[in-house]
């Protein structure tokens, strides 16, 4: 019963997670964003099949296989504002600007990634269809 209530609290990852832009995401650009520690920041915490980037983080599950585990809409929800699923997550909300504290002036009012960049990252993640090496 309690579990049911919890499930109901989780926002539906289907209807309300339509693409953020009309232009479909570009997986090649998405890969470059994920690999870039000052843009995507993903490899600070995650590892992924990007062998040329050494020093990948281990604070989060590997990105390998993300395209097997999640649909585009589910990935979008996790990138836009994963804290809707887990308020305690350390993963930043990439497309949320409210509810933040003492944001540096250069970034104030801006999301971490632009809408098209998020679509590009999703397109790339959907190509990751192999589980991480063990």
């Amino acid at each position: 019963m309690a579990i049911l209530a919890l499930l109901l609290l989780i926002p539906s990852a289907r209807a309300d997670e339509a693409p953020l832009t009309a232009t479909p995401g570009d997986a090649t650009r998405g890969r470059a964003i994920v690999a870039d520690r000052t843009r995507g920041l993903c490899l600070l915490c995650h590892s992924g099949p990007i062998p040329e980037e050494r020093f990948q983080g281990n604070l989060a599950p590997p990105l390998d296989g993300a395209g097997l585990r999640w649909t585009a809409a589910e990935l979008r929800l996790r990138l836009v504002d994963g804290k809707r699923l887990n308020p305690d997550s350390i993963m930043p909300s990439y497309y949320r600007t409210e509810g933040l504290h003492r944001v540096a002036p250069a970034q104030r009012g801006r999301p971490i990634l632009a809408a098209q960049e998020i679509e590009d990252v999703i397109a790339y993640l959907l190509t990751l269809r192999e589980e991480p090496p063990r």
Partner: protein
């Protein structure tokens, strides 16, 4: 019996686990650099601080009286009715007793003097800030440590308590013990204060850091000392 023990161990809060200085997570060569005074670049600042101390401070203080001072700072400052950190105390001494322009935060002169004074406490345990007048600042420091900030919306707790020992890209996240400051950081190619370190973490999560000398840093330092009470002072430490 075994099983209960295992369960008990699992139930222990993180704070009851072993506390580790950032020193423990460093590469062997960097540890050797810190250990050997001939190799430790921080000792250059200590030597400069000693010269300045002997020139400017010995009308009031002796070298021997500096032992243990760093272990009990930040302390209460009667003159301003607020907590003050060691660098702030040294600055205030210059201003009040020598009637000279106080050295700026992060200036070579203040870093050298602070490193010299803190070095006199090397090996001594950090004492717990028990002065009741520090209690409000201690509580403020604890709150600042737990507060999410910046565009990345992360708190100190999330990295230094929840994820210490894991890798943020190439860096092992230390437990954030303030045992070595001021310290020589290879990335800085120079000596820097705890405030500089804290600003680094704050800008790292894309938040607006407090200004140098702000009460918030002193509050954070009091909290970090409470958390690190009993750990040995390493000044001048070396960090990657």
């Amino acid at each position: 019996m075994r099983r209960t023990l295992a369960l008990l161990l699992l139930a222990l809060p993180a704070s009851a686990q072993d506390r580790r200085s950032g020193f423990e997570d460093m590469a062997r060569e960097t540890q050797a650099m810190q250990r050997d005074d001939m190799q430790n670049p921080g000792m250059l600042w200590v030597a400069e601080g000693e010269e300045r101390f002997n020139r400017d401070c010995t009308s009031c203080h002796t070298e021997a009286s500096m032992r243990g001072v760093a272990a009990r700072y930040p302390a209460w400052d009667e003159a301003t009715g607020a907590p003050i950190d060691l660098a702030g105390r040294i600055s205030a001494c210059v201003e009040r007793h020598q009637r000279a322009t106080p050295p700026a935060r992060e200036s070579q002169a203040l870093l050298a003097l602070t490193a010299y004074v803190a070095h006199q406490s090397r090996g001594l345990p950090i004492s717990r800030p028990t002065d009741p007048r520090l209690a409000p600042a201690l509580a403020q420091g604890r709150a600042l440590y737990g507060e999410r900030r910046g565009q990345l919306d992360l708190s100190c707790v999330q990295c230094h308590d929840d994820n210490a020992g894991r890798r943020l890209a190439g860096s092992v996240i230390p437990q954030a013990h303030p045992t070595g400051y001021p310290l020589y950081r290879l990335e800085w190619q120079g000596l820097g204060s705890l405030q500089r370190r804290l600003r680094g973490c704050m800008t790292g999560v894309r938040s607006e850091p407090f200004a140098y000398g702000a009460a918030e840093y002193v509050a954070l330092e009091i909290f970090l000392n409470d958390r690190a009470a009993g750990m040995a002072i390493e000044t001048p430490a070396v960090r990657p």
